[in-house]
C-alpha cells in the first residue's frame, strides 16, 4: 500500500468515527461546565470554621446531642466519685475528711483506683506493715478502706495484686525507704491526710 492510500484510509476511518459519535460530542463543553458548577468549592480553613460555627439545622442538632451526651457522662462519673469520697453524703465512713471518734481516733479513708485488680491492701506504720484489705463492693475499680488512726504521722504503701505501690495521690508527702517509695499522711490538725 502506498502512503497516499494509507493516508486516505485513515482520514476516511476517522471521519466515519467522528460522524458516528457526533451525538456524544455535541454539547460536551456545556455538560463539562455544568458539572464543574455542581461541585462544591474547596473551603479554606477559615471558611470551614465559619461553617462549623453556623452549620445547618440538622448538623447543629447533632452537635448539641454529642456535646450533651459527653457532658452527661462526665457529670455521672463526677457524681459517682463525689458520692464515694466527698463529705456530706450518706456514707460518712467513706469521707476523705477524717471522722473523729470518742477515743480520739479518726476514721481515715484510703482510696486506690485499680480497675483490673484482684486484690488491694494497704500496709503501713499503723498496722505494723501487715496488709489491711481494701474493698471494691460495687466493682467500679475504686478500692477503699476506712481505718481508725490516732493523730500522728504515718508511712504506708498499697499492695495491688502483690505489687507495692508507694505513691498515693492523696498523700501529704513521699519518702524513699529501702529504695522504694512510701507515702506519708499526717492525721490530725495540719494534714488530715486529705
Amino acid at each position: 500500500m502506498k502512503h497516499d492510500e494509507l493516508d486516505n484510509l485513515l482520514r476516511d476511518t476517522l471521519k466515519a468515527d467522528v460522524a458516528a459519535s457526533k451525538s456524544c460530542i455535541l454539547g460536551m463543553e456545556d455538560r463539562v461546565i455544568m458539572q464543574l458548577g455542581e461541585r462544591s468549592p474547596r473551603l479554606r480553613w477559615s471558611q470551614w470554621l465559619a461553617q462549623l460555627a453556623a452549620p445547618t439545622r440538622g448538623v447543629r442538632l447533632g452537635q448539641i446531642a454529642v456535646v450533651g451526651a459527653t457532658a452527661a457522662i462526665f457529670l455521672f462519673i463526677g457524681l459517682a466519685l463525689a458520692n464515694r469520697i466527698l463529705p456530706g453524703n450518706n456514707s460518712p465512713g467513706l469521707s476523705l475528711q477524717p471522722v473523729r471518734s470518742a477515743d480520739g481516733n479518726q476514721e481515715v479513708l484510703f482510696v486506690m483506683p485499680a480497675l483490673d485488680a484482684e486484690s488491694v491492701a494497704v500496709v503501713g506504720s499503723f498496722n505494723a506493715w501487715e496488709g489491711t484489705a481494701l474493698s471494691d463492693l460495687d466493682g467500679d475499680g475504686i478500692w477503699t478502706a476506712s481505718i481508725p488512726l490516732s493523730p500522728g504521722r504515718y508511712e504506708y504503701a498499697f499492695i495491688i495484686d502483690g505489687r507495692w505501690w508507694g505513691q498515693d495521690p492523696l498523700a501529704d508527702d513521699y519518702i524513699q525507704s529501702f529504695g522504694e517509695y512510701s507515702s506519708v499522711r499526717y492525721i490530725g490538725r495540719g494534714g488530715d491526710g486529705a
Binding site: S125, W129, P151, S177, R189, G190
Partner: protein
C-alpha cells in the same frame, strides 16, 4: 429467746471477745523470752535485760517489738543476721534511745521482703542518727528531763516529748539520706525538718518544743549529723 439461742449467742460473744482480750493482755518479759529462744539469738540474756529496761519507758513499743521478734523467728534468714537486728535494738534500749522508729523500720523491711542484711544496715544508720541527734540536742541546750526529775533548765523537756522530737528530727535526716540527698544540702535538710515538725505541731508535738528546735538547730548542724551517719 430459748436456751439454745442463748447458748449460741454467748458462744459467739465469747469468740468475738477472745481475740480482743488476747491483744489487750499485758505483754510480759516471758513473751519476749519465748520469742528470742525460738530464733535462737546468741545472747538472749543481754537482749532480755535491755528489753526489761525499755519496758519501764512510757513510749516502749511493746506489741510491735513482740511482733518483730515473732516475724524474725519465722523468717527463713540466717540466725546471725536476725541476731544483728536484735542487737541493734538492744544497744538503742541500753543507751536510753527510743526504739519506735527502729522497730517500725525493721517491720517494714520484713514486709518488703528486703534482705536481713539490708535491714540491719538501715537500722544501724538510724541508730547512729538517733544518737547523734540526741547529742546535737544536748549541745544546743535542749535536754531530756526524766519523769519526776526536777526541771533544772527551762529547755529540759519531759522524756516523752523529747523522744518524739528525737524520732522526727533523726527520721527526717534518715529519709533525706535514703532518698539520695547529700549531707551537704543542709538547707534542704532543715526545710524537711521544718515541714515535718510544723505538720506535727499541735498533733503529737507541742508548739513550744517545735519552736525550740527550729530556733536552736541550724542547717549546718543537720549536715554534721548526716555526715556522721554516712561515714
Amino acid at each position: 429467746m430459748n436456751l439454745r439461742k442463748t447458748r449460741v449467742f454467748w458462744t459467739f460473744t465469747l469468740l468475738l471477745l477472745l481475740p480482743i482480750l488476747g491483744v489487750s493482755a499485758q505483754i510480759s518479759l516471758m513473751d519476749y523470752e519465748q520469742g528470742l529462744y525460738s530464733i535462737p539469738v546468741s545472747n538472749p540474756d543481754f537482749i532480755l535485760f535491755t528489753i526489761e529496761l525499755g519496758m519501764t519507758q512510757a513510749d516502749f513499743p511493746a506489741e510491735p517489738l513482740l511482733r518483730l521478734i515473732d516475724r524474725l523467728a519465722s523468717h527463713p534468714g540466717a540466725v546471725f543476721e536476725k541476731d544483728g537486728i536484735l542487737i541493734i535494738l538492744a544497744h538503742a534500749l541500753e543507751d536510753g534511745l527510743p526504739i519506735e522508729g527502729l522497730v517500725g523500720k525493721a517491720l517494714e523491711g520484713l514486709a518488703r521482703n528486703v534482705s536481713l542484711q539490708q535491714i540491719e544496715q538501715g537500722l544501724s544508720q538510724l541508730l547512729i542518727l538517733l544518737a547523734e541527734t540526741r547529742d546535737l540536742f544536748y549541745s544546743k541546750g535542749i535536754f531530756n528531763a526524766p519523769a519526776g526529775a526536777p526541771q533544772a533548765v527551762p529547755t529540759a523537756i519531759p522524756t516523752l516529748r523529747f523522744n518524739q522530737l528525737l524520732i522526727h528530727v533523726s527520721g527526717t535526716i534518715g529519709d533525706f539520706l535514703e532518698s539520695g540527698g547529700s549531707p551537704f544540702e543542709g538547707h534542704l535538710l532543715y526545710q524537711g525538718m521544718h515541714n515535718r515538725l510544723t505538720m506535727l505541731q499541735g498533733i503529737t508535738l507541742l508548739p513550744e518544743d517545735v519552736e525550740l528546735v527550729l530556733d536552736r538547730i541550724e542547717p549546718s548542724d543537720l549536715t554534721q549529723v548526716a555526715l556522721v551517719a554516712v561515714r
